[in-house]
């Protein structure tokens, strides 16, 4: 499909196509658009934060508004930007990497996206109805319970809706990996991006329920007079902190593991070498996930859990440095002896290594429980997590996006502009966040709307703000690049990077059924093996036959829309209960419709497939 054909198709039918699609590649594009949009929103909020802090005692934003911006920046970036962008990558390539025609539950996949989308919109509507949530992305009770207006209600219900979507996406990827692998694709031949996405999905499965419960409790406290966090009625605010962090810590590994996966794809591809220590990489991933469940209280060192709990959690936390270190060194030794090509995804990967190492090291410093009494809730922590999140997750997302862009869209981003983007963003990043370590130690707590004069904090804050502008300009360069190259729309081959894994063995963008014939996988890096030992083409594992495809459906959209509407009813109560009724009726009605209607899909017939040519490198 060329761009002109696209335009002819008409906006209406494209819209309908995307509203009802269950194709993982299109859902990936939806996630990409949604995630990118919220990344820009979150970035804009970050810019507001930095502008407010450019000089001491600035009054650019009001105190209340600052808290709203700050809360929404964290919430948007984590839940509405980083996770969806990772889901975009997973949807785009995970099925291709294991030689599957789609995910296990295409319908649920669409549902997951629409729940995320409506959850995100719900959250952001709060800006226009009297104030966004203002209790920090961690929403600590009782501040979040006492918070006036409906801001925190939007937080609780919005995240609840998008959280359901995330949980479904997680289960979907798990089953996809377990049941949908092509013949020969054993577990120890799966590409690392598939592995890390798989493990991240396990984390989603077990971490999100704790958030679900936490958010329910918060909602009930605020809207129905429950007393979970109300000290006067016997409640205990610490319960929220535990539930939040039981979810929250695994969440940060949900973010970083797929990013690790991206680097484990990009580095071998552009070093022209197989990943060093593949099996220890897999093992380290599993170990990180396992340990990740036992360390949440390192966010609560200063809560007063006592020295015994603090010591246990300190040591458990430090232990995570070991498997992560294994990964870092494996990447370095993948590069060792390779033929390194400085393509833009590779530059992002190379930028990641030292940056993340610094972030991880400050993490270990934070894990030193007693010392955390000084670091906690200061800009030192802000610096730590932006080093790991921006230096790890965001660089990973962009590396992956640029790397798989040809596969997703069949066009190439401009390499030169990508390099510009990288350097502006990377330099800006270090300018913004490196000095924040020192700001924290010099006595600047985080979540400060303004800081006083005469504390010697002015200069570093100023530099930090300047750095943020560099990042913004870099991001704009990227946007410009996207627009420019897509308008031009130069087509690329199926394997433009000369890469190693299965997704590169089919045309870019792939046909809607992905693989005409199921591929036969003969080892790790299947395409590379065929390039070295065969004719560069993957052998089919089955004769050409009919392909079973799922039907498109509007039901996922309707189910999510229903919850979205119901959310308002629950929040505003009173006369608005009607909305809750309408919303739940829509949701449950759609679910009922779904379960009563037989939906067994359709077939693409052998004859049609034969007409389409040989299906390789289109």
């Amino acid at each position: 499909m060329s761009t002109t054909a696209n335009q002819k198709a008409g906006i209406g039918s494209v819209l309908w196509d995307y509203l009802t699609t269950v194709d993982h590649k299109k859902i990936a594009i939806l996630y990409l658009i949604g995630g990118m949009f919220f990344f820009l929103v979150g970035g804009l909020q970050a810019m507001l934060i930095r502008i407010q802090l450019v000089v001491p005692e600035n009054e650019f934003l009001s105190a209340q508004f600052y808290n709203e911006v700050l809360t929404m920046h964290g919430t948007t970036m984590i839940f509405l930007a980083a996770m969806p962008l990772l889901f975009a990558l997973m949807n785009a390539v995970l099925p291709l990497q294991i030689g599957a025609r789609d995910v296990a539950f295409p319908f649920v996949n669409a549902l997951g996206f629409w729940l995320f989308f409506f959850g995100g919109i719900f959250l952001n509507i709060s800006w226009f109805t009297g104030g966004a949530p203002d209790a920090g992305w961690t929403a600590y009770a009782p501040l979040s319970v006492f918070s006036e207006g409906h801001g925190v209600d939007y937080y609780a219900i919005g995240l609840q809706i998008s959280g359901f979507g995330t949980l479904m996406a997680g289960i979907n990827f798990l089953v996809t990996v377990i049941n949908m692998r092509a013949p020969g694709m054993t577990y120890m031949r799966m590409p690392l991006f598939t592995w890390t996405s798989f493990i991240a999905s396990v984390l989603i499965l077990f971490a999100f329920p704790a958030l679900t419960v936490g958010l329910f409790l918060l909602t009930f406290d605020r809207l129905f007079g429950a007393n979970f966090f109300n000290p006067d009625m016997g409640g205990n605010a610490i319960i929220w902190e535990h539930l939040f962090w039981i979810f929250g810590h695994p969440e940060v590994y949900i973010l970083i593991l797929p990013a690790f996966g991206v680097f484990s794809e990009v580095i071998p591809a552009f070093a022209k070498k197989r990943l060093f220590g593949y099996s220890s990489m897999v093992f380290a991933t599993i170990l990180i996930a396992f340990l990740g469940f036992m360390v949440w209280a390192h966010h609560m060192f200063t809560v007063g859990l006592g020295p015994i709990a603090n010591s246990i959690f300190a040591v458990a936390t430090m232990a995570i440095a070991v498997p992560t270190g294994i990964k870092i060194f494996n990447w370095l030794f993948t590069l060792w002896g390779g033929q390194i090509r400085m393509t833009s995804p590779m530059v992002f990967a190379l930028g990641f290594i030292p940056t993340f190492t610094v972030g991880g090291m400050t993490g270990v410093m934070l894990a030193s429980a007693a010392a955390d009494f000084q670091y906690h809730d200061s800009y030192f922590v802000v610096a730590h997590f932006h080093y790991v999140i921006v230096g790890g997750v965001v660089l990973g997302i962009f590396a992956g996006l640029i790397y798989w862009w040809p596969k997703m869209f069949g066009t190439f981003l401009n390499e030169k502009l990508n390099h510009w983007f990288f350097w502006l963003f990377f330099i800006g990043f270090h300018l913004t966040f490196f000095l924040q370590h020192f700001l924290g130690l010099m006595g600047m707590p985080r979540r400060y709307w303004t800081f006083l004069e005469g504390q010697n904090l002015d200069l570093f804050n100023l530099i930090s703000t300047i750095g943020a502008f560099f990042m913004a300009i870099g991001t704009l360069v990227f946007l410009f690049n996207v627009v420019k190259t897509q308008l031009k729309g130069e087509k690329v081959s199926g394997d433009p990077w000369d890469a190693r894994t299965l997704e590169w063995s089919i045309p870019s963008p792939p046909p809607f059924y992905n693989f005409k014939q199921e591929p036969l996988v003969r080892g790790l890096d299947p395409l590379w093996i065929e390039k070295m030992q065969g004719n560069g083409k993957i052998q089919p594992a089955e004769p050409l036959g009919d392909i079973h495809m799922p039907n498109r459906s509007l039901t996922p959209f309707m189910i999510s829309l229903g919850l979205f509407i119901a959310g308002f009813g629950i929040m505003y109560q009173g006369g608005m209960w009607v909305l809750a009724g309408i919303g739940f009726a829509t949701t449950f009605g759609s679910m009922l419709y779904r379960s009563l209607k037989d939906d067994i899909g359709y077939h693409v017939h052998k004859e049609e497939l034969e007409e389409e040519g040989d299906g390789s490198n289109g």
Binding site: T302, G304, G325, F438
Partner: protein, 422 residues
């Protein structure tokens, strides 16, 4: 334990690094320039961890830089296929074991310090005798701090006076949402939780001075304006300050007529929330020594202009969301002048933040503050020579500790319902 650390320091010439770091920030605020026992210990721990991290970072960077320059594809090498290495057990073991060792080096002092800082039992002198402990009940409220000295009937807000000769133990609770008590130069932070969850820690200042404290847990719009001060004075000055504060009843007539009128205005409009003299925690800060404060409401310069704005606008713009905005009063300019004048007379003691900075050291063993305790909860101790280190009876138990233990059981709270008094 400290000895162990110092030896470590010597080995790595860490003092150099400490020097570099101490160039950062202001001496009254920076965690890198500690003036208290806790903060010094923590800086040691931080430096130890930084050294380990630098070591790791340097190794990573050496490999990294080498690899990038050495193995970059050169022109004409496009067809070379590098050897596809699977891995290396020896190397992989190496980079599993070395980090484990490094982490153990960090973990051991971490645990020691974590326990050491949680210890609020009485200090002992070199002779092994227990020092009397000062316990302060700290209450955090949106957006101010309240301090009640246990057993010695002194109450104050915003500025906490402590003697430099010993640790002062804090028992902390919040009246509303979670706050966090942080004086970077003196001690790491500790959360101040609502009802039921009392936290304890000690602070100790090694030198006299006024140290800035911050609230470190998001607690509402004016979270960033919830500053307080630790005024560390010599023991003699502290003792005097306590005595002066104890003598205030709140009934004292000021001299000038305007101030007397102001006192009346104050009694009519402000006493519901503010107290003068020792009193239980109220809805607003205790103003006994208001005129001695360094800052108004914790953060503003103490001058007429600010004070007038504060009273006239109830701090609406100055500290958004503060609870004085609920005050029902409506004062004329005249009355505001009067009450301001009255407030400026509230200076019961010679000992002010000035005293912390003037370098005068007055010695005392604070025995005056701990008269013979009666209820058999422990013997008092008042015999001492009054030289440098204070000495006291070895039997002197501290009972306040027991009280605080009782506090931490669920639902038993004695602070939260006090604010509705009157």
């Amino acid at each position: 334990m400290k000895g162990w650390m110092s030896r470590f320091k010597a080995v790595f010439a860490l003092t150099v690094m400490a020097l570099i770091l101490s160039g950062c920030g202001e001496s009254f605020l920076s965690a890198l320039q500690p003036s208290g026992e806790g903060a010094s210990m923590l800086l040691d721990l931080m430096i130890l961890s930084i050294v380990i991290m630098l070591f790791v970072f340097v190794i990573v960077m050496i490999i990294y830089v080498f690899v990038i320059f050495k193995f970059r594809q050169k022109k004409g090498q496009e067809d070379i296929v590098p050897k596809q290495v699977e891995g290396s057990h020896a190397l992989e073991t190496l980079w599993t074991v070395i980090p484990i060792i490094l982490l153990l080096i960090l973990a051991v002092p971490t645990i020691q310090y974590t326990f050491a800082l949680a210890d609020t039992s009485p200090e002992t002198t070199e002779e092994g005798e227990e020092l009397d402990q000062i316990w302060v009940d700290v209450t955090g409220s949106q957006y101010w701090w309240h301090f009640e000295y246990r057993d010695i009937e002194v109450t104050t807000s915003q500025e906490l006076y402590i003697p430099t000769d010993r640790r002062v133990n804090l028992s902390m609770i919040s009246d509303d949402v979670i706050h966090s008590f942080w004086v970077p130069t003196i001690q790491g932070k500790m959360d101040v939780n609502p009802t039921g969850n009392t936290n304890e820690m000690y602070i100790q200042a090694e030198e006299e001075g006024v140290y800035w404290g911050k609230c470190a847990e998001l607690c509402g719009p004016s979270h960033s304006l919830m500053d307080f001060k630790i005024v560390a004075v010599s023991p003699g000055e502290f003792e005097q300050w306590v005595e002066d504060m104890q003598s205030v009843s709140g009934e004292e007539e000021p001299e000038s007529e305007t101030a007397q009128a102001g006192q009346q205005v104050f009694a009519d409009n402000c006493m519901s929330c503010h107290a003068i003299g020792s009193s239980p925690n109220k809805a607003g800060p205790n103003l006994t020594n208001f005129a001695d404060r360094e800052k108004l409401a914790g953060v503003f310069d103490m001058n007429e202009e600010n004070l007038r704005e504060w009273i006239a606008t109830k701090g609406e713009e100055m500290k958004p969301g503060n609870s004085m905005m609920d005050a029902p009063y409506d004062l004329s300019d005249e009355e505001i002048n009067q009450v301001m004048e009255y407030l400026m007379t509230l200076s019961p003691s010679e000992i002010t933040p000035e005293s912390a900075n003037n370098g005068i050291y007055e010695d005392s063993d604070l025995s005056g503050l701990f008269p013979e305790e009666s209820e058999g909860e422990g013997e008092g101790n008042s015999d001492s020579e009054g030289n440098g280190d204070s000495e006291s009876d070895s039997e002197s138990g501290n009972n306040s500790e027991d009280d605080s233990e009782g506090d931490s059981s669920e639902n038993s709270n004695d602070n939260s319902d006090n604010n509705s008094d009157e």
